[in-house]
């Protein structure tokens, strides 16, 4: 791994995660581990039907069950809306199987379950609209008043003159792809504990990727000031884009608590998990692109149809992101994009790991691979010819101050032995490449884009770092501690990362849109610099040196070039705190992209997959993935590798295995066995190449790694399968029966 040689003391080394000891000892507390005095157990009564009118709700028998302390009905929730067109509980109509109708809290789970079974809801069944293309038809029933043709959201963008550019292209190709519904299936099932016993003050423990957005959403729903909603996020058992917005059960737990006067825990049981969060729905991608006679890509046209299910929450983010993404990898002269979120009576969808972009790349990556082959070009050569470079600005305004995409392509191709394999492998063996980019952070997507941090330094030489960025496994807290430690000249183990309580967390949207390393990292660095400057004043006086020359390193402070004069860091802090003025050291910092919209940095990557397809069974075995990622700088290389591993796993899982199978709007495989995911047996060998382009705007040059890798994996494997069998498999997952069908 070629790594930039510079003189960082702490950044770039393999630090064990700070909370690791607790995690391996079973001491880490997750929301389901929270026990509060008098805590009740919640149960939700859900619609068995995809589309039905509610005629009557009778909760009398349920309320009579001993131990039942609160029942919440649509009447109780009538002022609470949790999406553009989604009431918390439906007054008139249910629009998807599993929709929440009534919630109950009782002193035991058994009593709550018994009571739930006694709630009598009378339904009048209505025809259900279950197919996204049929939902668009002129004669389809309209599910929501304001969504004509059931289009809940539409985005259309044009850059340049696509028709003219297409007309001038020597090569034009069209493809259609489909990705099927999925589920995030993290290890920790959905759960929240709500304490709304104090009037006007809501406290909630729940796993989340973004405490801030949860706080705001709950505050809006209950008409409270955000500051009176306290989110305690403890540890989160995996996010994968599935814990990025509140769901009905969060509100219901709060309402049950308010009504009963006791804390309430609401937890997904088994198959309920597949309704409470439901990852991606079916998406249909129609792609068309054109290249000139020399193989230069000129124009991309994309039409994306999303089954958004019964309700739109904040899924429109995916049309924003995919419309930009057309321009991410190749300079274009024109483009056309249309993205539509269409309502059906399927589950209200959100996203799986990859945020809709990795899934879009499954389609676009195969499409471009096909175009390269139409032109008669090796895909690696095509990508090297066309890929973006440092200094490029896309038609959408994204500027690449650092870009190692071509380096990633070259390195993976070299390490994987591409030239000796592409076009030369025996039948049913294949090699394929997928390239990707990912915005490091975002601006303009949320009300708040700023990330902030505070650093409190104490006279024992240690520091507390306050961040609002959750750690859902990606070791973000350790990364922030590393950044802080580098600036202060101490080590990550000297730092307590304080996070997970909105009462004390500084502003931060959270682990969403890949902003952790870049935004919060910069905020952390700024806060640490602020603290250091405060200490520098004291040190300068002690050392009789110029503040600007001071080095903070190895727990010491000294003027540049005069390490023999070093004084301990602890002493500098002590003198600051206990001087006659008694100045307290508290660093504060924040970071926000200086652009009006969009972020300052993008990560890039390339992955090459090598597969064997069994022509008898259609089973695809992935032998090896060679992955190169330009992460700017690896703050913690082993963690970067771990991210690459985990995302390759997730990408491979989605492209080959994962699918929620629906019938009449109901999930038929709502279990961890029947919803297919690979386990230990199926993992390929992975080679990691970390490319460091040292981004000028990232903290120590770092950029994101939280989603860049997965963008490459699905398409790399799909392209390898195409190479192996001679045909594209245009539906994801590439289940064995789909592969068999595609074999020439």
């Amino acid at each position: 791994m070629a790594r930039v040689k510079d003189d960082l003391a702490v950044v770039g080394k393999n630090w064990a995660r700070l909370d690791g000891i607790d995690k391996v000892s079973g001491r880490s507390i997750f929301a389901d581990d929270v026990r509060l005095p008098g805590m009740l157990f919640g149960k939700v009564v859900r619609s068995p039907y995809a589309h039905a009118r509610i005629l009557n709700i009778d909760t009398s028998a349920a309320e009579a069950v001993p131990g039942v302390k609160a029942v919440v009905t649509p009447e109780d929730a009538k002022d609470i809306w949790i999406g553009i067109n989604q009431p918390l509980l439906p007054a008139e109509k249910v629009n998807h199987v599993g929709q929440e109708v009534v919630a109950i809290a009782a002193i035991s789970e058994a009593a709550a379950t018994e009571a739930a079974a006694l709630v009598k809801v009378e339904y009048e069944r209505l025809p259900a609209l279950l197919d996204v293309e049929k939902a668009l038809a002129d004669n389809a029933a309209q599910l929501h008043a304001k969504a004509e043709h059931n289009i809940g959201w539409k985005q259309e963008d044009v850059h340049g003159d696509p028709d003219a550019v297409f007309a001038a292209c020597e090569f034009v190709r069209e493809d259609r792809y489909v990705t099927h519904p999925t589920h995030n299936c993290y290890a920790e099932y959905h759960v929240c504990v709500a304490d709304f016993t104090k009037p006007g003050k809501l406290k909630m423990w729940t796993p989340t990727q973004t405490a801030l957005l949860f706080q705001q959403s709950l505050a809006a729903g209950f008409k409270l000031p955000a500051s009176d909603v306290r989110l305690l996020t403890l540890n989160s058992g995996g996010g994968f884009t599935g814990r990025t917005s509140t769901r009905p059960h969060h509100f219901l737990a709060a309402m049950l608590s308010r009504k009963s006067g006791r804390p309430v825990r609401l937890r997904a049981s088994g198959d309920e998990e597949f309704i409470m969060c439901r990852a991606g729905g079916k998406v249909i991608y129609k792609l068309r692109s054109g290249a000139d006679k020399d193989g230069r890509l000129k124009v991309i046209e994309a039409d994306l149809l999303f089954d958004t299910g019964a309700y739109v929450e904040s899924q429109m983010i995916v049309t924003l992101l995919t419309s930009k993404y057309i321009h991410a990898l190749y300079p274009l002269e024109a483009s056309r994009y249309r993205g539509r979120l269409v309502h059906t009576n399927n589950l209200p969808y959100y996203f799986h790991h990859g945020g809709g972009i990795a899934q879009f790349q499954f389609a676009l990556g195969q499409h471009i691979d096909g175009l390269a082959r139409d032109i008669g070009m090796d895909p690696v050569d095509f990508n090297l010819l066309n890929a973006v470079e440092e200094g490029h600005t896309t038609m959408e305004g994204a500027h690449y101050a650092s870009c190692g995409l071509k380096e990633c392509i070259e390195k993976t191709a070299s390490l994987a032995g591409w030239k000796d394999k592409y076009g030369k492998l025996p039948k049913y063996k294949g090699i394929g490449i997928g390239i990707g980019a990912m915005a490091s952070g975002a601006k303009g997507l949320f009300k708040h884009d700023t990330s902030a941090a505070f650093v409190k330094v104490t006279d024992d030489g240690k520091a507390s770092l306050f961040v609002g960025l959750p750690d859902m496994g990606q070791s973000s807290h350790t990364a922030m501690a590393i950044i802080c430690a580098e600036v202060l000249g101490i080590t990550p183990n000297d730092i307590n990362v304080i996070s997970g309580d909105t009462d004390s967390d500084p502003l931060d949207v959270g682990a969403f849109t890949q902003r952790g390393t870049f935004n919060t990292g910069n905020a952390t660095r700024n806060a640490a610099l602020d603290a250091r400057n405060q200490l520098a004043k004291t040190a300068a006086a002690l050392l009789e040196a110029d503040e600007a020359t001071l080095v903070f390193r190895d727990h010491k402070v000294y003027p540049q070039g005069a390490e023999d004069q070093a004084i301990p860091f602890k002493k500098v802090v002590y003198q600051t705190l206990h001087s006659r003025e008694g100045r307290f050291v508290m660093g504060r910092g924040f970071y926000n992209s200086p652009l009006e919209k969009g972020t300052m940095a993008y990560s890039f990557g390339a992955q090459i997959a090598e597969v064997t397809v069994d022509p008898g069974t259609g089973v695809v075995t992935v032998h090896k993935i060679t992955a190169a990622h330009d992460v700017g700088r690896a703050i913690n290389p082993r963690i970067v590798e771990g991210q690459i591993d985990g995302q390759i796993f997730s990408g491979m899982s989605q492209v080959l295995y994962e699918e929620t199978i629906l019938e009449d709007g109901q999930v038929m495989n709502p279990s961890r066995i029947d919803y297919k995911m690979p386990r230990a047996f199926e993992m390929p060998e992975v080679e990691h190449i970390i490319v460091e382009t040292i981004d000028p705007n990232g903290p120590f040059g770092a950029k994101e790694v939280g989603e860049g890798p997965i963008v490459c994996t699905m398409q790399a494997i799909a392209n390898a399968v195409t190479h192996a069998i001679g045909n594209q498999v245009t539906e994801m997952p590439l289940s064995p029966w789909r592969v068999i069908k595609a074999i020439k």
């Binding site: 393999n14 064990a16 995660r17 909370d19 690791g20 000891i21 607790d22 995690k23 391996v24 000892s25 079973g26 001491r27 880490s28 507390i29 997750f30 389901d32 581990d33 026990r35 299936c185 993290y186 290890a187 920790e188 099932y189 540890n235 989160s236 058992g237 995996g238 994968f240 049981s269 088994g270 859902m472 496994g473 990606q474 070791s475 082993r638 963690i639 590798e641 771990g642 591993d645 985990g646 995302q647 390759i648 796993f649 997730s650 279990s671 961890r672 066995i673 995911m677 386990r679 230990a680 047996f681 993992m683 992975v686």
Partner: protein, 166 residues
Amino acid sequence: MSKQLITLTVNGDAYEVAVEPQQTLLEVLRDTLNMTGTKRGCTAGSCGVCTVNGERGQAILSCMALAVEWDGRSLTTVEGVADGNELHPVQQAFLEFGAVQCGFCTPGLIMSAKALLDVNTDPTDADINVAMAGAICRCTGHIKVKKAIREAARVLRAREVSDGAS
């Protein structure tokens, strides 16, 4: 249904608890004994986060075991793996090799790995795959988990040698 008094030895300590027949071992561990290190996941035996080790050290899905069937028996949970403050080699290796991300599946993985290493300190790749197939991990992709297990095996083998030599 009436409760039954059982004695359960967990991590070497005997606890007398009143349980209903329908309570699973997992429920008694977490909700009666407040030992929340063992996690609750699918409750259907398909995810492995609830794994504990039985008296022979074997991996047991505590969500599918009746507490009453464990009367007079002993088991080990993740809270009992370390020796006081000294981590077990498998815990240490998980930490060093980056095999821990969100941590929710970690207790289940550790108990599954320990069950293997307690009887086999020189497992093949296939042995590791078999031992770990029943435990889900969605964050790590299993790659570093397997590396950590191989390292823990190496440490345990080295200890055997030095124990044998002494």
